[in-house]
């Protein structure tokens, strides 16, 4: 394989992402003034391929407010049995691939995976210097349908993060003061359901380089060594393992008023153009370039790193130098314009398609002021990078967003892409 070819493949395989930030407080004050904001939801959609999603308060054990986190429930079973449990408050992330659950939330004695006859461990790093680390296990994972029995990913490889008794994370995973996402308060959820564009969590890099840093085996006495893992044996995209409706997902969230909502209930519909309930209407298809991005034109600038990520909890763009939307003085991670602003971004893809995204941002302190509000459509902050635009969860409100798995055939073309 020529390097260029390999790189292209690699770039597409690594499109998955989710730059994860630790749970902590919900940003800003949280004084409760005024009446509770309403809850909003999309019209109910039924079907075996329909999974309910909800933005609202976090899981038990999370004592602080984090807004704009998209949660769902996952049912997992001992492989080949009907011994099951359901885990709530699992974060739905279109920026990563694979199911990762906090081991403290999993009561089933799931069989652990091995490589070279030794227990297999998985690491994922997030951009804020946090990580998830733990053994790879297998479970029958059920999603969709009225009783979480609609779609099945049999014998799916998942990660059990923060497992007691596991070897400590190796330095390549946890180095430099990295923080483990091993509790609900650290993670803000009981796990992450990665439904991004990559079919596996790592791809060819982990198949060819045992020192890639992602997969390790225990060699006894707490020692670990890197191990090459074939793509088939890596953490898999759960949807890709369904018998049907396995080419991607549609996330349909309700519109959220400018002042926010107490909760927002929507749906993830499995498959793209495979059923009447996931037939795409008129949408624009944004295919990622080799680095996983599309181009975004915003505020007179052309940004080379535009991307959509349900695991980001705001609109993130710009640095901190724009006078009309200055950072909040008390929390410069968010913008505090003096009044709401209507803005526009234009996305263009390597496939030649373009789309215009109209949105509004508002003063973050004002948005945070009602402590009962969890869904905020107008929350924005600096990305700190004048080449990037992160279309986080607010982008999903009032939209139907399709995420196609790399290599999968759909009526809109072959994945990977994001369409809306």
């Amino acid at each position: 394989m020529k390097p260029q070819v390999t790189f292209r493949w690699f770039g597409r395989a690594m499109v998955a992402s989710f730059v994860w930030l630790l749970a902590s407080c919900g940003g800003g004050g949280g004084k409760s003034d005024g009446s509770p904001p309403p809850a909003v939801s999309t019209p109910p959609v039924t079907g075996a391929n329909v999974q309910t999603l909800r933005v609202g308060p976090g899981p038990a054990g999370l004592s602080v407010r984090v807004v704009n986190l998209l949660y769902t429930s996952v049912r997992l079973c001992m492989p080949g049995t009907d011994t099951c449990q359901t885990i709530d408050h699992v974060l739905v992330d279109t920026g990563s691939t694979g199911l990762r659950l906090l081991s403290t939330a999993v009561t089933l004695p799931l069989p652990v995976a091995t490589a070279e006859g030794k227990s297999l461990y998985n690491c994922v790093q997030f951009i804020d210097q946090s990580y998830m680390w733990g053994p790879v296990a297998s479970a029958d994972v059920y999603l969709g349908g009225p009783a979480l029995d609609g779609e099945k990913a049999a014998n799916l490889r998942i990660q059990l993060a923060g497992s007691a008794g596991a070897p400590a994370a190796p330095s390549v995973c946890a180095s430099g003061g990295f923080t483990p996402n091993d509790s609900p308060s650290a993670l803000g959820a009981n796990g992450i359901l990665g439904v991004g564009t990559a079919p596996q969590d790592c791809g060819i890099g982990c198949e060819l380089n045992p020192a890639n840093g992602v997969y390790h085996v225990a060699t006894g006495g707490g020692a670990l060594t890197g191990v090459a893992v074939s793509q088939a044996e890596q953490l898999q995209h759960p949807v890709s393992r369904f018998a049907v409706n396995h080419n991607g997902v549609l996330i349909h969230m309700p519109a959220v008023a400018a002042t926010g909502a107490a909760s927002a209930t929507g749906a993830m519909i499995f498959g793209i153009g495979t059923q009447p309930n996931n037939a795409p209407g008129t949408v624009r298809v944004m295919a990622p370039n080799v680095n996983g991005y599309f181009t975004t034109t915003f505020n007179g600038r052309t940004l080379s790193r535009g991307f959509v990520d349900s695991g980001s909890n705001g609109w993130f763009f710009g640095t901190d130098t724009e006078p009309t939307y200055p950072p909040c003085s008390n929390a410069p991670q968010w913008y505090c314009p003096s009044s709401a602003l209507n803005l526009q971004a234009v996305n263009s893809s390597v496939n030649g398609q373009t789309s215009t995204v109209d949105f509004a941002i508002a003063n973050a302190n004002t948005l945070f002021s009602n402590a009962a509000t969890y869904a905020l459509s107008n929350l924005a902050g600096p990305v700190g990078d004048d080449t990037a635009f992160d279309f986080g969860l607010p982008f999903f409100y009032g939209r139907q967003v399709y995420t196609a798995i790399s290599g999968a055939s759909t009526p809109l073309g072959t994945g990977p892409y994001v369409a809306y």
Binding site: C25, G95, S96, I127, G188, A331
Partner: protein, 166 residues
């Protein structure tokens, strides 16, 4: 884009052409921003397979570049001024490098940026800081990280720092 050419994976697959003949090996990894670079030619005698070091010819007279290819495939480049101080570090690859090693005394500023982000309830996006003593940015998508950090006061005169960054 500069950072992804060559991509770290390709670099790993093809060290022969990526690193050419000037490959050096070193063990000394105790240097960081504001200090001497991670490896110096003198260290080559203490060869260790874990770190492969290319010490490039000067790009211009104002600075030199040291490139470290980690076993993971992540590539870290250090930009060194005439006083042999690292004034900028740039990285790209499937996993983050140990930023504590490369940031040295400035790692605290980075951690503060992370903590402030958490405290503000922000998720996603990137970690960034813009202070008089340190400008840094760490971004990426899962399995594809990149970033940079530099000390504005150590950047050689006449060098446009933006041309060195990803």
């Amino acid at each position: 884009m500069l950072t992804m050419k060559p991509p770290s994976f390709t670099m790993w697959r093809t060290p022969a052409f990526a690193l050419a003949a000037s490959l050096l090996l070193c063990t000394n990894v105790q240097a960081a921003l504001g200090r001497a670079p991670q490896a110096r030619p003198a260290d080559a005698a203490d060869a260790a397979p874990a770190a492969r070091q290319l010490r490039a010819a000067p790009v211009n007279e104002a600075y030199t570049v040291s490139t470290l290819v980690e076993p993971t495939g992540t590539v870290v480049r250090e930009f060194v001024n005439a006083q042999q101080q690292v004034f900028a570090v740039v990285w790209a690859g499937p996993v983050l490098p140990d930023l504590a090693v490369f940031f040295g005394d400035h790692f605290t500023a980075y951690q503060q940026a992370v903590q402030q982000k958490r405290a503000a309830g922000q998720r996603g996006g990137v970690v960034h800081a813009r202070k008089p003593e340190l400008v840094m940015l760490s971004r990426g998508r899962m399995g594809n990280f990149e970033g940079y950090a530099y000390i504005p006061t150590l950047v050689p005169h006449g060098v446009d720092i933006k041309t060195l960054l990803p």
